[in-house]
Point group: C2
Chain length 278, copies 2
Amino acid sequence: MARILLTGGSGFVGRQVAAALQAQGHDLVLVLRPGSRLRIAEIAAKARVVETADLFAESPTWWQQACQDVEVVVHAAWHVVPGQFYSSPINFDCVSGSLALARGAVAAGVRHFVGIGTCMEYRLPSEHLDVTAPLEPSTVYSAAKLGLFHMLQQYFAATGTAFSWCRLFHLYGEHEHPGRLVPYLRAQLKAGETARLSAGTQVRDFLDVAEAGRMIAEVVDSRQQGAINICSGQPVTIRQMAERIADEYGRRDLLEFGTAPPHPADPQAIVGVPNLQI
Amino acid sequence: MARILLTGGSGFVGRQVAAALQAQGHDLVLVLRPGSRLRIAEIAAKARVVETADLFAESPTWWQQACQDVEVVVHAAWHVVPGQFYSSPINFDCVSGSLALARGAVAAGVRHFVGIGTCMEYRLPSEHLDVTAPLEPSTVYSAAKLGLFHMLQQYFAATGTAFSWCRLFHLYGEHEHPGRLVPYLRAQLKAGETARLSAGTQVRDFLDVAEAGRMIAEVVDSRQQGAINICSGQPVTIRQMAERIADEYGRRDLLEFGTAPPHPADPQAIVGVPNLQI
């Protein structure tokens, strides 16, 4: 069992990673904003908590201190403001802060660093994104993630640190932001109100965030290196996904396809090829 | 004629860019370390100089101020310590500082940003590197440059700022570091001493740094956007290059090929396809 420092442990993905790591018996150091521990009280009660108002503003020296006696870092934190983060320069703060974390981790002797990337690093659209597919970001967010990937990969290679980069596909599930597709549908269906949707022909790779958390925890244990797609590998249209959920309520009649405009930067297909070795 | 802010204007490449821009009648704002103006006294005498001990440590607000009334930024500065910079995390400081410059430039209303990249961003080796060739850095330095390219490209697209990225190939010439190939050869040949070289079979794309400076200044005037190879397009082996120089001294006999080990990270071929529109 390892001592693992986790950032973003109170977030949508990070809390699932934290739960999965604790279930495997690992000892966690959570880096959290003051107050965030209340959102994950059960997890935090079994962990050491280091507080900071903005982890992306901390120095390599601060991180070196936080990483004392830590064997593995899982860096799940990122500034994500739904609807705005795709083009915001706040992504640059995340890159600079993540580089400071990497330097501190190396200085403290961390042996394995697990970062979190995105399917949006790939050239899209594609229904067959294996980890050797061409990389071509089309937003500030995905350029920041890809840029960080390139830098960390070379830096950790030069310092002899194991490095894994988990590219997340379309996650849904517990604690999801209410503005996103699945929570929106459930809220409308539950209330018996119509749900306005685009045509729904876009093909996606949906994965339950709890399963994603278990897969990332698996990477910690297996120490599989390089880019890893955290995906289902199953192509599903947004229409199919919506209909599955509507069927739980017996209310397909509430789905109004084609009444909402598609997002302008919404690729037709994003489907991964799983490469996690189990 | 435009007002142009130039970083790195006292460096190997930057001073050539400065001279070429002034020759075209542009009005320069040079961001320099205290003392550096002495190295380019003639250029600095005709420019406005803003001093800072470390431009990569300045904030977006500082840059916004420096960019007042500036139309174009040419960002030629980078921390380059010969022999060390390929794997140093100092490259990360350069990335963070360059992102702060970009944000300040956008806030000040700069309309065109010219950044400096490297042929090492491409997957190597290759004798046919056009700007659509696969990108695959293999050092911390080239990963930092490529990461910055991706981020700036998306950020400037989102903010409506013209963006050019000049990828430098193998530059030689005036004010080159004495440890590099051409100055080393000239020093040995001049002194009548043998020059120890690798087998010299590696194929390179050599370009005089003064010509590179003129090409970058051309990008300012034409406002050609995207990635631009600053290269000759001519494949030349290191042996051919060495022999050309030795011939100037009539001393090919002083060249000892195969007596120095090749650099372990030295690709067999790096040759660009020029795409500068003139």
